[in-house]
């Protein structure tokens, strides 16, 4: 490809050129079937997610079928500077028809009799000393059992996972196992017994549930990508019971350095960019401590799919660290459930110590592509895990030739310390964009009148329909016959006067809303529309709440009142950061009589 650069121009072509290329694609039956099955699986999960979102508000626990994406989260996520609600919901694909059960006990194991259920239970030492009667009552840690449902359908496996799901309250949690005992097993193990199932089970359990073993934390962590010459240094402080977090992040990519801060305070998140003195904000509609989860062995299960091979259903519990993309060290459940789920792929190498804390050093790897941090290449890893909490202290990834690719490490850590709650002084920053209410979050938010929103949404749709009908008559005197919308008339006439030729006018556009913003007495709908001819683009509608009227419309891909946008075609897709450009946004608002 790189030797034939002329072919690069074939990319980013327009619709007619795409159609010319379409006839050349040859997909064999197997490939086509694989994509269809994958589409169906994602569709099923997505539909169920919506149902679950509706019933569970902002819960971010859930399950997903995955093949190759899990470990990539930490690397891919680390690349994102702007953290949005979409990121959170993106990793929170919820489980189909989840039913919460009152008891944390596992359901009837006869349902899952495909494999031998867990047998070997290692009991803590018997309490013979009467003084120990007052000790907490711990549960026994069942040796990890890897469930592989070879003869069940996807729906049946979902049902099984579902039956082993329960609801808990994070604020009521107490350590459930005798950590001292299990740590002693690891510390005193001989080389022959160090990798016993129970020792591995303990490490796996702790990583899956690390947040049950501390309430607050502060410290410093680093991330280095040797391959991309990129590094991050993060100071963090979290108080999970107060639902508070603060993070200061400095990044270095080659010669370029950047910094930003995030704050999470119950139902609000702030993103501060000190370098350019801007901030943005997100709101959430719930601060519940309630969450649903599965017992460890049902956090990830696998099953055989006729076409697609082995598939996994994973179910993460809600992350209370509020560190978003950086939670993978303090709460490494994703890494454990994807990388350590199959015990034969890793080993405990030794026991160590880090700043006075007892640790386990483990290593492993796999050569199947779905397991890779770096897509489609075999890899190896090394980790150091705090035995008392399951916190991942360091994590390094190597290629098959032992060349280090990437590492993450905690440099300083204090647990269960009092965290001073600091909130940003946003007075000194200017707003970067608008307060955003993602569609799946604004439901139930009193700040926006949902009836009014529905009315506005209908206006948007009607506007699109009018536009479709009126476009072809825009240069005639009969334009008013086709639309009585003055804004639309104004736009169409202006487009004629300014010789704005829209090469691909929509004919039967339908409008689908992507996000809603509210600011300064205005509600802004951002959405996209498509028509029957393969034409599509963004349309942004601005309503003035006080006058309850449509004030302006931007056709993101077709031009707008503001001629700056005339040349914008379909290169950028839908992107709410469009609104980050203050000068242009102010210009727009000035046009419609709204001042900042």
């Amino acid at each position: 490809m790189k030797n034939n650069r002329i072919f690069d121009v074939l990319r980013n072509n327009d619709a007619s050129q795409s159609e010319r290329l379409e006839k050349y694609i040859k997909l064999d039956e197997k490939e086509s079937e694989r994509i269809f099955r994958k589409s169906r699986a994602k569709y099923n999960l997505s539909v169920c997610q919506d149902a679950e979102d509706f019933s569970q508000g902002d819960s971010v626990s859930g399950a997903e079928i995955y093949r190759n994406q899990k470990w990539r989260r930490i690397t891919a996520a680390a690349s994102a500077v702007i953290i949005s609600g979409a990121v959170i919901s993106g990793v929170a694909i919820l489980l189909k028809n989840l039913k919460t059960v009152d008891s944390p006990e596992l359901s009837d194991n006869s349902v899952i009799s495909e494999n031998t259920p867990p047998e070997a239970i290692t009991s803590p030492p018997p309490d013979t000393d009467s003084e120990e009667i007052t000790k907490p009552v711990y549960k026994e840690l069942a040796v990890h059992h890897e469930y592989f449902f070879e003869d069940k359908t996807e729906d049946e496996v979902f049902d099984i996972v579902n039956q082993n799901r329960y609801t808990r309250d994070f604020s009521d949690r107490t350590p459930d196992i005798d950590r001292e005992y299990y740590i002693s097993l690891i510390e005193t193990a001989s080389p022959d017994t160090l990798n016993s199932d129970i020792n591995k089970t303990y490490i796996y359990h702790m990583m899956l549930n690390s947040i049950d073993y501390y309430d607050s934390a502060e410290g410093n962590m680093e991330h280095n990508s040797l391959e991309y010459d990129y590094s991050e240094n993060v100071n963090f402080s979290i108080d999970m019971l107060a639902q508070y977090s603060h993070m200061e992040c400095k990044t270095q990519h080659g010669e370029e350095s950047n910094s930003y801060e995030t704050y999470h305070d119950r139902i609000k998140s702030y993103y501060i960019y000190p370098d350019d003195k801007t901030f943005s904000q997100e709101n959430y509609d719930s601060e519940s401590f309630e969450y649903t989860t599965n017992e460890d062995d049902y956090r990830v299960v696998k099953y055989a799919d006729e076409t697609y091979g082995t598939l996994y259903i994973s179910s993460d519990r809600k992350d209370f660290t509020n560190l978003n993309i950086y939670s993978d060290l303090l709460f490494p459940q994703s890494i454990a459930s994807s990388g350590l789920f199959e015990f034969e792929n890793w080993n405990i190498d030794s026991v160590g110590e880090w700043n006075g804390r007892k640790t386990a050093l483990i290593s492993g790897g796999k050569d199947e592509y779905y397991f890779n941090v770096y897509p489609y290449q075999p890899y190896k890893f090394r980790m150091e895990i705090d035995l008392e909490t399951g916190i991942l202290l360091s994590f390094a990834v190597y290629d098959i030739n032992d060349n280090e690719k990437e590492n993450f490490s905690i440099k300083e850590l204090s647990l269960n310390v009092e965290i001073d709650k600091i909130l940003p002084n946003i007075e000194q920053y200017r707003k970067d964009g608008y307060t955003e209410y993602l569609l799946n979050l604004y439901r139930g938010n009193d700040d926006i009148d949902n009836t009014q929103l529905a009315e506005y949404a209908e206006i948007c749709r009607e506007f699109c329909k009018d536009y479709s009908k009126a476009y072809n008559f825009r240069d005639g005197s009969s334009l008013e016959k086709y639309t009585d919308n003055e804004n639309l008339q104004k736009y169409l006439k202006q487009s004629v006067e300014n010789q704005i030729v829209e090469s691909i006018p929509p004919s039967d556009a339908d409008y689908e809303i992507y996000s809603i913003h509210k600011e300064n007495g205005c509600i802004i709908f951002t959405g996209y529309y498509g028509d029957s001819e393969g034409r599509y683009g963004m349309a942004i509608f601005l309503f003035d709440v006080e006058s309850n009227s449509l004030k302006d419309v931007y056709w993101y891909t077709k031009g707008s009142y503001d001629q700056i946008y005339r040349s914008r075609t379909d290169e950028t897709g839908y992107d709410i950061d469009f609104w980050n450009d203050r000068i242009r946004v102010e210009g727009l608002f000035k046009n419609v009589g709204i001042k900042f």
């Binding site: 990319r11 050349y24 589409s39």
Partner: protein, 189 residues
């Protein structure tokens, strides 16, 4: 297939309806995705993106209101939107920091950019015309190899040729194409 035809089928058998929609538009969606990702995404990324697009299409048409329109436009829109998201995600791997403002400014075309775009469109047109002039199977070989990023073995399987024959034919087709493009005033291969 129109929206209403799909809706009717959907009422009787969801999977069958989705299968029919998929079979009709898979090549269209795949092409749109390749349009954005070829050269930057791996084959698996393209497949993931295509399946994401279809999942969203299935989901949207599950609840969409009746319409007499053909649904190709909507499908194209969703596919391209997904492809752009994947493109941004895959691009960020090499850049890591995605400064959205910077992206936005970069995406605003200067006059030079617009001029370059127009030029690229013309070049694309000439290139496609000349590739088609090569005739089959050479046109297919070139497009599959350089646009869809297929391996010689895959192309060979689809066109009933050995991989070595595919490579040989590709080399020859490229030479012919180079000559045709030079005649059209374009070099660069």
């Amino acid at each position: 297939m129109t929206h209403n035809e799909y809706r009717k089928l959907l009422e009787s058998d969801e999977e069958k309806a989705q299968r029919a929609l998929f079979d009709e538009y898979i090549r269209y969606v795949y092409t749109i995705v390749c349009n954005r990702l070829s050269g930057i995404g791996k084959r698996e990324d393209i497949e993931d993106c295509v399946s994401d697009a279809f999942a969203e299409i299935f989901k949207n048409y599950r609840t969409a209101s009746d319409s007499d329109g053909n649904i190709k436009g909507f499908i194209g829109k969703v596919a391209d939107r997904k492809a752009i998201l994947y493109f941004n995600r895959l691009s960020s791997k090499s850049r890591y920091i995605t400064d959205m403002d910077e992206d936005f400014f970069n995406s605003i075309k200067s006059e030079e950019d617009i001029s370059a775009d127009t030029e690229n469109k013309e070049i694309r047109q000439i290139l496609l015309d000349n590739i088609e002039k090569l005739g089959e199977p050479d046109s297919s070989l070139i497009i599959q190899k350089y646009f869809f990023g297929r391996k010689s073995s895959e192309i060979g399987k689809a066109l009933s040729m050995s991989p070595s024959l595919v490579r040989m034919k590709c080399t020859r087709a490229l030479k012919r194409l180079k000559k045709l493009l030079e005649e059209s005033g374009i070099g660069g291969i």
